[in-house]
Amino acid sequence: MKVLTFKGGIHPPEGKELSEDKSLKKLKIPEQVIIPLSQHIGAPAKPIVEIGDEVKTGQKIAEANSKISANIHSSITGKVKAIGEYLHPALGKARAVVIEKTEGDEWIENKKIEDYDSVDSEKLVEIIRERGIVGMGGATFPTDVKLSPPPWKDIDYVILNGAECEPYLTCDDRLMREKTEEIIEGLKIIMKIVDADKGFIGIEHNKPSAIKNIQKLCKNINNIEVKIVKTKYPQGAEKQLIKAITNREVPVGGLPLDVGVVVQNVGTSLAIYEAIVEGKPLIERAVTVSGEAMNDTANFIVRIGDTFENLIEKAGGLKDNVKKIISGGPMMGIAQHSVKNVPVLKGVSGILAFTDKKTHHDEELPCISCASCVDICPMKLIPSKIVKFIKNEKYEEADELEISACIECGSCAYVCPSKIPIVQYMKIGKNEVRKINAQKKQEEEK
């Protein structure tokens, strides 16, 4: 089978061998969970419980606050202990509901729809919204919004993203191997909702077992096909995956649905299946715990709100020479100050611990125009020049070089011999450019 890909990209050390053979293990329900109200892109959810309330597993505890927002559910059976500011792996600190476990694990009863084909698409989207499903790949965009394209946009393809191009992470791989059937059912549901002709599952070449399992099950489904994509970072970035599989290019500033495609992570597909067919809100997820500074590694199914500390401990604990702990993958993840009381969110796909050797900090030197970053940029930008403009506060010039197209994948910073923190400059620049353009728009409207 042909291995598909896009232009550019890098080959960082994969690190998957550390945990790819560890099958998914359901972790014991924690004594206490910290459930932040911001676990998705968009407005934080509004809490609908009060301190002292008793809640069941799967009970809604906070409500979506605007169109782009998501419901939050309790992940355990217990009692609301506090509502306030708590640590958050991405935002530093954010409002959260703390629930203390009581006896048992009593689930709230939800309607199960096994025959989803006979149900209206709108109804299915409503259920998905109700169950608080968001993108599980890390971006955490509310799934219901993504599945409601404007009526004038025809969707041809649904792509399930099983690339998992971030090094070290293996949770999607494990899901594809162990929850194969559920994931494919999820894809069918998505295809029904957006009325797509064809479904693809894009998987990187380095996951032969996952590919085999899914291929076996798809054999008799004529409108679903497995597409093998090259093991290359960032193969799992939405736009790059679409390019590889369909050869369509999402325009600058556009969305996949502008080219008739909807992309969902395999984990999201599983969550959709569980929400519709099993009536289960999004209260658990698969997390890889790995890295050279771990005594042992694991792939867990954990309740949302469990803590990093607990996961690390259950996986085998940290080595003494740990230097860095990351939420997410090593390329785009966020380094953590501490792991105590830091909760696992809907979008946390991995907890990685690294030693000094892997992450050594280097001094920034002047750019020598080696153009490594230009050669590998998957968005075909000129990072080195954009960074020079940003350093000199020439944001309009940076805008001309399409800085806003940057997906912050970090490939440029990975290859840079001068160790320039390019992603950081990109973030600053994008922010400034956005401000300038908003201001310009405002002035024009006047």
């Binding site: 890098i10 960082p12 050390p13 736009k239 390019k243 290019e249 999402v250 325009p251 600058v252 556009g254 500390e309 940290l318 230097k323 860095k324 702990i325 090593p330 390329m331 785009m332 993840g333 380094a335 953590q336 100050h337 501490s338 792991v339 105590k340 990685l352 690294f354 892997k358 992450t359 050594h360 900090h361 280097d362 030197l365 002047p366 020598i368 125009s369 080696c370 153009a371 230009v374 050669d375 998957p378 968005m379 075909k380 080195s384 020049k385 070089l401 399409e402 197209a405 970090g410 910073a413 990975y414 290859v415 840079c416 011999p417 001068s418 160790k419 923190p421 992603v423 950081q424 973030k427």
Partner: protein, 359 residues
Amino acid sequence: MDKNLQVSISPHLKQNISVQKVMWLVVLALLPAFIHTIILFGIRTIWVTLTAIITAIISEALMQLLFNKKITITDGSAVVTGMLLTFNVPPTIALWKVALASAFGIIIAKQLFGGLGYNIFNPALVGRAFLVASYPVAITSGWVKPTGGFLSISQRAAESIKTAGNQTAAKLVDTVSSATPLTALKEVRKAASNPEIHDTAVNLWDKLYSFDFVENAFLGKIGGCLGETTAITILIGGLFLMILKIIDWRIPLAYIGTLGVLTWIFGGHNGLFTGNPFFHIFTGGLMLGAFFMATDMVTSPLTKSGRWIFAISLGLLTFIIRMWGGYPEGVSYSILIMNIFVPLIDRYTVPKAFGGGQE
């Protein structure tokens, strides 16, 4: 359990490459050619090289002191400049002239522009051009024969050309056998238009274009600057850098290819397509220029399309200067001239961003 955790922006993995590593790899790639020069011209080339390197380092440090900047002489870039300059001078050059050129290159072409990464021109080539402007005689004459070789054609080959009492022809043979190959070619081409010595000139021309000669040129058994007599070892070093992806293969390929094709078409005396491209590829500074000078990261274009434009223009310019210019060799000036155009090339070869082509 909280340790002193490090917090920094993503990505948390970095490739094992650094500016220092790049520079020292270039130095490493130049070592075979350096050893080759010692074999060809003796111990003296060591002193020439050391002079260039030490002066480069001292100049860099002094300027950084003067401008209150951090001293960065360990990054290896000054060493690279010093070494490259050595390959751009004749083996007999006075040491103080090498030092002068090295200092000029580092101070004027590099440090005044802000140091590493900001220079517009290749410092080593600026050093050479300064020498050519200041001491034209020192850099274009006084050639010595390399061990086991000759300057352009061997004494025997020269004697085999019967001049039959024709004094002008005899003089031409003398001139040619005491010049570097490209200078010899220039003399021969000029002489070919003189009917009186046309036959002799054509005879010499054929000798230069013969397989034997090109083989000798490839092995370095000819006269010239240190980098002009070490084609084979420079090629080895260049391929080494190419395999490590320190330099982009496009630049040497397009540069050498363009010059080869042009000289093949227009470089002969029997009409079109009678030139010997290999003569032009292995004589002069082309190997050094194409692999080590034109590929200098700081002073070459950023984009692939830009590098094609850059390298093809280099081939064209070198061809023009070798054919019609005042200098026998045009590699160093071609690169300096194209250095001027790099900012323009960079500006007008910005690729469309991903998804930018469909709107």
